[in-house]
Symmetry: C2
Subunit: 271 residues, 2 copies
C-alpha cells in the first residue's frame, strides 16, 4: 500500500457509513486538500456502488476538514445498469465538511475515443525543462506527497511577474509508487496552485464548488495538468483543469468555482 | 407573469418543502427539459436562502420527470456571509427525479470583470443570418417556448452532413416577454440540441450530470449560446456551454456528462 492508498482507505462500519482517518500529509496548515477529500469520498462511493469508476463528482465545500477521524456517509439514490448515483458527505465533529453527488459507471480500460479534441495549447514543455521544487527540511504538507514539474511560463507570479492570464500547467505524479487511478485523478484535478495567482491574486483561494468527470482509465506514468480560467469578477473565479495521461488521452476534466484569495495580514503589511 | 415564470413558480408548503406543477410545455413527449427542472430547483433554493443568485448548481438526473405535480425539497447545509449551500431534490410519485447541490450568493448587477477571457471562437453570426424554425401547427413542446436562431454551420446534422465536431451555437431568448435572469440561465445552459449530433450521433442524449455556474447578472436581450465538447468515448460525451449576454459578458458556464443517443427503432430501420 502507498501513503496515498492508506490515506484514502475508508473502513465500512455500517451500510452506507465509512470511517476514515484523514491524513494531514495531504493538506497544509491544518487545512486538507480538496482533491484529497474528493478521493476519499470517491473511494467510499465506489465501495458502496455496483460500478467501479466515479465518472461524475460534484462537491460543495462547506467547511475546512482537518486531519483526524471523520465519517463518510453514502446514500444510494439510483442503481442503474449503466450508471449509479449517490449522495455522499464528509462529516467531522458533527458538522458536514463536504457534500457531494457521485455517479459511478464502468469505463473500459481499453476503450478508444470515438472523437477527441485537440490537446490543449500551449503544450507542456518536456519534464526536464519544467521547474521542480525539491522537498526540503520544512514540512510542506501536500507538496511533499506529489511530484510536480511546472511550466516555467506559468510561474511568473512567484517573482512578482504574473503572466496576466489565469493559468497553470504542470506534470503530476504521486511521490509514492502508486500509478494513476480514479482516485489519483480526484487529487490531480485540484492539485495546481490557484490559476488566479497569474492575474495578480495572492494567498489561499478557497474552492466553493468543484465538479470533475473521469473520462478514461489513466495509463501508468506522469499526468499532464492544464489549468485555465475564463472570468475573474466580484471575488469569484472559475478554474478549468484538463488531465491528460502518458498515452495522450484526456482522462479527466474539472471545473471549480472559487473565491479569489486575499493576502495574509503579514503579506499585506509587507506588500 | 410569463409562462416561464408561472411554470417555475414554486409554492412553499412547509420549511424546506415546495410544491410545483411541472409544465409539459417545457418538455417533449412527456419528458421534461433538464434546464427547466434546474430552474425550478433554483427558484426553491433561492427562496429558502439568504442570497439571491444560484452561483453553482450541480444536478444529477436520476429519472425522467413528467408534467404534473411534484415536490422540491430544500435542505440547507451552510448559511455563510458570502455564500450559502443546500441539497435540493425534485421528487415525483415518491421517487427522486433530480438531486442537486446549489450554492447561492449575491452577484453585483453592476459589477465589472477583473479579468475576462476572449469571447468564444468562432463568433455567432448575426441573428438575421441564423436559422430559425418557426412554430407550426404541431406541438413542439420546449421548442415552442423559446426563440432560438442557430448558426447554420452547426446544423449540418439535419441534412446528414454533420460538421464532424461536437458543436452547436445559437441565439436564445424566451418567446415570452421575460428578460434573462438567473432562472432563464438555468434553461439556457441546457437548451441546445446535443452537440454530438454533429459527430454523427442520433436521437435523444440523456444528461447524467450537469453543473453550471452563474457568473454575472444578464443584461436584457438575446443570449448567445456556444456549445462544444472535448471527448466522445464509450457512449459518454461532455458538453460545454458558455452563455454570453447582449452586453458582451460571460454570464454562465455549464458542463454536462451525457450518454450518446441511440437512434429510435424507426430511424434505425430506415437508416
Amino acid at each position: 500500500m502507498s501513503r496515498f492508498g492508506d490515506a484514502t482507505a475508508v473502513t465500512r462500519v455500517a451500510e452506507g457509513r465509512y470511517r476514515i482517518d484523514l491524513d494531514g500529509a495531504f493538506g497544509f496548515a491544518e487545512a486538507l486538500n480538496g482533491g484529497y477529500l474528493m478521493a476519499v469520498l470517491a473511494r467510499a462511493a465506489v465501495d458502496a456502488a455496483p460500478h467501479r469508476h466515479p465518472v461524475a463528482t460534484a462537491a460543495s465545500f462547506l467547511r475546512v476538514a482537518k486531519p483526524g477521524p471523520a465519517e463518510v456517509l453514502v446514500e444510494p439514490r439510483k442503481a442503474g445498469r449503466t450508471a449509479s448515483a449517490a449522495r455522499v458527505s464528509l462529516v467531522q465533529d458533527g458538522q458536514v465538511a463536504v457534500d457531494a453527488l457521485i455517479t459511478t459507471a464502468d469505463l473500459d480500460p481499453d476503450g478508444e475515443p470515438d472523437w477527441l479534441g485537440e490537446p490543449p495549447a500551449p503544450p507542456l514543455p518536456p519534464i526536464e525543462r519544467c521547474t521542480h521544487f525539491a522537498a526540503g527540511d520544512r514540512d510542506r504538507g501536500f507538496a511533499d506527497q506529489v511530484q510536480m514539474h511546472f511550466d516555467p511560463a506559468t510561474l511568473g507570479w512567484l517573482d512578482g511577474r504574473p503572466s496576466g492570464r489565469p493559468e497553470c500547467r504542470a506534470w503530476f505524479r504521486l511521490r509514492d509508487p502508486h500509478e494513476p487511478d480514479a482516485f489519483v485523478l480526484a487529487l490531480a484535478v485540484d492539485a495546481l496552485p490557484p490559476v488566479v495567482l497569474n492575474t495578480g491574486a495572492k494567498g489561499w483561494a478557497p474552492t466553493v464548488e468543484m465538479t470533475w468527470h473521469m473520462r478514461a482509465v489513466p495509463a501508468p506514468g506522469p499526468l499532464a495538468l492544464h489549468g485555465g480560467g475564463r472570468l475573474v469578477a466580484g471575488g469569484w473565479f472559475d478554474e478549468e483543469v484538463e488531465v491528460w495521461d502518458s498515452a495522450g488521452r484526456l482522462v479527466a476534466q474539472g471545473r471549480q468555482l472559487a473565491r479569489v484569495g486575499r493576502p495574509s495580514r503579514r503579506a499585506a503589511a509587507t506588500a
